[in-house]
Amino acid sequence: MRRNRSILFLGIALLSLEATAGFCQDNDLAGHLKTIRAVGPKGQGHQAAAAAWKQVAKADAERLPQILAGMDGAGPLAQNWLRAAVDAIAERQLAGGNKLPQASLEKFLLATHHDSRARRLAYEWIAQVDRTAASRLIPKMLNDPSLELRRDAVAQAIDRAETLLGDGKKDAGVVAYKKAFTAARDVDQIKACEEKLSNLGQSVDMPVHFGFLMEWKLVAPFDNTDKSGFNVAYGPEKKVDVNATYQGKGDKKVGWIDHVTNDPYGNVDLTKPLGKLKGAVCYAVTEFTVDEEREVDFRLGSYNANKIWLNGKLLTANEVYHAATAIDQYRVRGTLKRGRNVILLKICQNEQTESWAQSWHFQLRVCDKIGTPVLSTTRPPTPKKAEGK
């Protein structure tokens, strides 16, 4: 009898403990989220975050929007910690045959002030349990701040345009394609729309859509034998004066020349105006005017080692030769001041002899965080050949 009573008391105690743990979990969730958000580089805060993560991952699915909101303003490391917790909770919920809090997740998704990635994550879990989500929610997201949601909306817009064209409604199809093109921010979708519109006899301004800078002044060559020139501050780095001349490589006197690219993707092939030089440095400068101070992305693509300065301030330096290139390969934030700004590039060519190591080029664009172009108020018209065909 005494033994049975002990077991009963033990059972009650365990149930009380579990209830208490649940109560603490609710009350402490914000604290655990704060601990996880504090993780820093090089493993800072890991041990506390690991303990907090275990607690967060035990939370009820009803708390998912609160955990998702914890991603707002969090760093990329903390966002991944939180994402893992969200996925673990949602996965457990569904594996147990339970439902996700779809209405509150949907409310979170539609509140565009929340972090884009958190919103996308909310959408992906909604889509797992609601087959109508894509057709019901995505079409309204053609101008969404989340690139991933916007991408899905653009894909649907392209499908609608194709359907119209397939039904013989060319004018409506063109309008639909232009709408998709305007909304598109991913390079592959932009290219797909441009090619289709071109086939339909429509011209679009690709450099303007991306925000590529087309007109430059160039000066070269400066010495980069044995890659020695990357860290040498040649004349243009000390002071940008487009009327100046300099002692270039091999004591050759060099001065600035005008160059306009007509590539739709803003590619400046330096071998065309300067020749196939090796072990050489080129500087490129251009002006950019805005009405108000604003922070922007500078996005560079180049096979060559490079540096970017804005108004004399070094923004980025990348001493990498011939690994690969792509639009938006290097991204850096910078603040344009009101009025005239000076953008200076340094593009370094090494002496590799392989056929795949001969490119000497760059492409630079100015845009906001999701790739929407920011255009200079003094931007000249796009060269005709650079527009969509």
Binding site: P41, G43, A49, W53, L77, N80, D87, E91, R117, E319
Partner: protein
Amino acid sequence: MTRISLHLMFAVCLLVLATGADWRQFRGNDGSSTSADVNVPLRWSAGENIAWKADLPGRGASGPIVVKGRIIVLASSGVKQNRLHVLCFDAASGKQRWHRQFWATGRTLTHPQSAVAANTPASDGQRIFAFFSSNDLICLDLDGNLQWYRGLAHDYPKAGNDVGMAASPVVVGKTVIVQIENQGDSFAAGINTATGETRWRIDRPARANWCSPISLAGAGAKQDAVLLQSATGLVALDAYSGKQLWTYKSSCETITSSVAKGGLLYVPSGGIKALRPGSSAGPAKVVWKSSQLSPGAASPVVSEREIYVANRAGVVTCADLASGKVLWKERFKGPFWATPVLAGKHLYLVNYSGQVQVVTAGRKGGRLVSTNELGDKIQGSPAVADGALYVRNDQSLWKIAKER
């Protein structure tokens, strides 16, 4: 035999069944790409010997690993390949046990043929260490619970190679070692497996390198030691402290990795060099070298008595492990990006076109037994465990096993 002894034996058998068949890292537990398993099918087709096939949500040039009945595989997806996936499948049923996703914190540009999920994960039997070309290092337990997350390119922003990084991590003792060699922030680091904190970090040559670090246990090291290979040679480090133990200066390959087995190292270096490892008492010494054994992208396979090397053209050469003398050389259909595996008495050669050629191994081997079609673009090395071969491509993961 007492009842206790029987129970003990049963428990030991269960333990062996639970853990004995793991394939915990790139090229298997000892890094030699071999398994004594003789039960892997010699041929298969749509209706025969394919135990299951699972869909994958993204691409991957990495191989699967097997840990306690779980198949772990990495994938990367998205237009920028910046969505990282760690997936766990039940080995018996093929059912997905869990799926974790993350956002890459480092560079995600790669050659179109490669993927951000290019590095094969590793495990210490309790944890999984998922490492990606973006230099994100993620530790999960076997049930998918996050233990810690390191963004090594977040810490060192110039770390990256836009062709793609591919060195797989290795666990040595209580340290997971990553080798991040590129033109930017180039380094190797030893990370505490339990906490994710950095035990040590050393600068490495600032040039691209895709070789994976290896444990020196197979080379007879008396302590937890790791070997780093680069274009200029080898360096052996204490795995816990990062302290340098010995170096070997010589031009080495930067794609294919070394093997430590039977007290020696087999190093891709102008062919293959068999090295007796160095120590505090003296430098490494060449036991034999052969320019006829020239690996392409796949690393050498080392069995108890032979070494096998596949070149880019699809030629596989088998040599005597003691002398380096060539025993046979046969051409098969390449190209081979995936390192082959040896299971029992057969080599499994996985080519980029998605064909798995089963070839007899051993001193008189080299005979093609079968060619099995799986699908295109296979670059990850297979895993072998419990009579099964696990192979993945950009879309699917297969378990090749006899029906039971």
